[in-house]
């Protein structure tokens, strides 16, 4: 119902359109009779009138401006500052996506070594519909926990196994998606925290290699850095990279949670001369990777390709995928079993995963979410009796210890996170990753914006984040009464009946 004092914006805009030229004339007369200074206003209103004529009669792309003129710009102006206003003032602490302020604040506090104890009570909607961790009546004293250790490649009995001592891996982010300062800060932080970092699929990992941390080389579908001209695998180049002392493992990327069924995407705004050279691509177009490896056309050839890479590189070789259909995952495991060829690990990426750039529908609507996918994968491996032939890693919004515990209980041996580490570098979730305009200098190649990111200070934050996560996970494991992460299982979760991972709900 309209109130009597409501403003009719249609009438107001017609009034403004009429009065802009009239005011120009009035001020002109005032300038003539009263003081020449009035002509400052004459000129201003003349210009506003000219702009208004352009909006109303000389353009037809924006209906609002064509119908209402200058006043309609107010809508575009207010709308343009909407995201900032909502984030600064109006969005509640538990409201924002993908990470709300509470979740981000926990990472910021951990990375700055500030105590993250909270007061008064949970800010979540608290009822019986959420997954919870079951603690034990008899917790383990933290001094009696078994130290964490995970050795990749031990199942195959290869010489160059790789052991991690903290259950964290910095997930795949290329130089290209990230700027060089961000890559180096993460790499230096990984070195300080003694964790392993994934190079991402963006070609020869020049900046990742600079800081001497342990690295996983990611082999993307476009095979940047190790490709022949026709896009197939260049074995010599792969061998050369695998032989570098800090390249500890190789991950074959089959698909990515944020855009499964579609290849990587680097917008042309972010392609510098150097990136074009490192990847061997043109600067003029977006770089779109193929959706699949040309070598992998079915289960048999996929398994053979894994074997081929394992033979070239004498180091652990794993695969990363987002599950679309668990039946396909089971078929893949059966093929591994039949050929007796297993990747040294499988990373399950949830469809909630992050990306620098992907079509909205892929980000929102394609792929299985992490928790049911991870549970399904773990169950499939157990049913096939091959869970002990490989390691299982999980990724997808695993930035805080609570959700990481869920992943451990569902079968993950270690956690991969990308955005968690970006937040530890000072990411403010401005969501400008694809536009080269990242205000904190992480996902940009603009030297003026990268200037803000101090490598040594941010590297220390990465280390603090890892150490404080480890501390929290240790306390949580102790609370469940277990000795180590390996002992965690599905029975340590309180699972409501309507949850997507409830045993009563079919997984597919």
């Amino acid at each position: 119902m309209k109130s009597k004092i409501s403003i009719d914006l249609h009438k107001l805009s017609r009034f403004v359109n009429l009065f802009l030229p009239i005011l120009a004339i009035i001020f002109f007369l005032a300038g003539l009779k009263l003081s020449f200074y009035y002509h400052f206003l004459t000129v201003s209103f003349l210009f506003a009138t000219a702009l208004n004529v352009f909006y109303l009669y000389l353009q037809n792309g924006h209906a609002l401006l064509r119908n209402f003129g200058l006043l309609a710009q107010g809508r575009y102006m207010l709308e343009s500052v909407g995201p900032e206003l909502r984030q600064y003032l109006y969005a509640s602490d538990t409201e924002e996506k993908p990470f709300n302020r509470l979740e981000r604040a926990e990472v910021y506090r951990k990375s700055q070594n500030i105590d993250s104890a909270s007061s008064f009570g949970s800010l979540h909607t608290f009822d019986a519909t959420e997954l919870k961790i079951r603690h034990s009546l008899f917790p383990t004293p933290t001094s009696e926990l078994t130290p964490y250790s995970l050795t990749f490649g031990e199942e195959r009995g290869i010489e160059n196994t790789h052991t991690i001592r903290k259950p964290y891996i910095i997930s795949a982010m290329s130089y290209g998606a990230l700027g060089k300062n961000a890559v180096r800060a993460l790499a230096r932080g990984a070195k300080l925290a003694d964790i392993t970092m994934n190079t991402g699929e963006g070609g020869y990992p020049k900046y990742h290699l600079m800081e001497g941390c342990d690295l996983i080389f990611q082999l993307g579908t476009a095979k940047f850095g190790v490709r022949n001209k026709d896009g197939t695998l260049n074995e010599e180049k792969l061998k050369e990279i695998a032989d570098k002392p800090t390249i500890k493992m190789i991950e074959i990327k089959l698909s990515q949670g944020a855009k499964p069924g579609k290849g990587g995407l680097l917008p042309k705004e972010k392609i510098s001369d150097e990136i074009a050279e490192l990847r061997g691509v043109s600067k003029e177009h977006d770089v779109v990777s193929p959706a699949f490896h040309s070598e992998c056309k079915d289960y048999t050839s996929l398994t053979q390709f894994i074997k081929r890479v394992q033979n070239i590189a004498n180091i652990p070789v794993g695969i990363k995928l987002c599950i679309g259909d668990l039946a396909q995952f089971e078929n893949m495991i059966q093929e591994f079993k039949k050929q007796d060829i297993f990747p040294d690990w499988i990373t399950i990426d949830g469809s909630e995963g992050g990306t620098g750039a992907a079509p909205r529908a892929f980000i929102d609507r394609v792929g299985m979410p992490l928790l049911p996918a991870l549970k399904g994968a773990n169950d499939a491996l157990n049913e096939a009796g091959v869970r002990n032939r490989l390691k299982l890693l999980a990724s997808g919004k695993l930035i805080g210890p609570g959700r990481q515990m869920l992943a451990f209980c569902l079968g993950a041996d270690a956690i991969c996170s990308a955005r968690g580490f970006m937040l530890s570098l000072g990411c403010i979730q401005a969501i400008q990753c694809g536009s080269n305009a990242c205000p904190v200098g992480i996902t940009t190649h603009d030297p003026k914006l990268e200037h803000g990111l101090d490598i040594s200070i941010k590297a220390a934050r990465v280390r603090n984040y890892v150490n404080n996560l480890k501390h929290d996970i240790d306390e949580l494991v102790a609370a469940t009464g277990c000795q180590s992460i390996n002992d965690l299982s599905f029975k340590h979760l309180y699972v409501p009946a309507d949850s997507s991972i409830s045993p009563h709900v079919p997984n597919n």
């Binding site: 003081s35 020449f36 000129v43 353009q59």
Partner: protein
């Protein structure tokens, strides 16, 4: 923007800066002719105020990030000057010369604005090819 358009823009920027710049010495030193003009249109301290604004326009016109702002300010000042000539100062003798220089500067600033229209706030967003009327 093509290289030719860029060069053309810079030529007209320099023209506008030279015309506005050479009058600044007269304005700031309080040259009797300048003072007489501003007295005639009843603008006390006008020579200083307009001088400062013209100086700002010159500086903005020469800095790559702010060229369109300088051109807009320059065009506004020159429009004011032309209003002055039409209403009070007239076009006799030296006045006519000054008026023509103001017109030349206004035209230069407008050419710069047209070439760089895709940098102008409030306009750049609607100037992509698909948004303009087609015959």
């Amino acid at each position: 923007m093509t290289k030719a358009a860029k060069t053309t823009s810079w030529v007209f920027q320099i023209i506008a800066v030279i015309i506005m710049g050479q009058t600044l010495a007269f304005k700031f030193s309080g040259h009797p002719t300048t003072l007489a003009i501003f007295e005639e249109i009843n603008m006390p301290y006008g020579h200083i105020i307009i001088g400062v604004l013209e100086l700002a326009a010159c500086i903005l016109l020469l800095m790559p990030q702010s060229i369109v702002y300088g051109a807009t300010l320059g065009a506004g000042l020159m429009t004011g000057a032309i209003i002055g000539h039409i209403t009070e100062l007239g076009w006799e003798g030296e006045r006519g010369q000054l008026g023509l220089l103001a017109i030349a500067t206004l035209v230069s600033c407008n050419i710069v604005l047209f070439i760089r229209r895709k940098d102008i706030p409030l306009i750049k967003g609607i100037l992509s090819e698909s948004n303009l009327p087609k015959d």
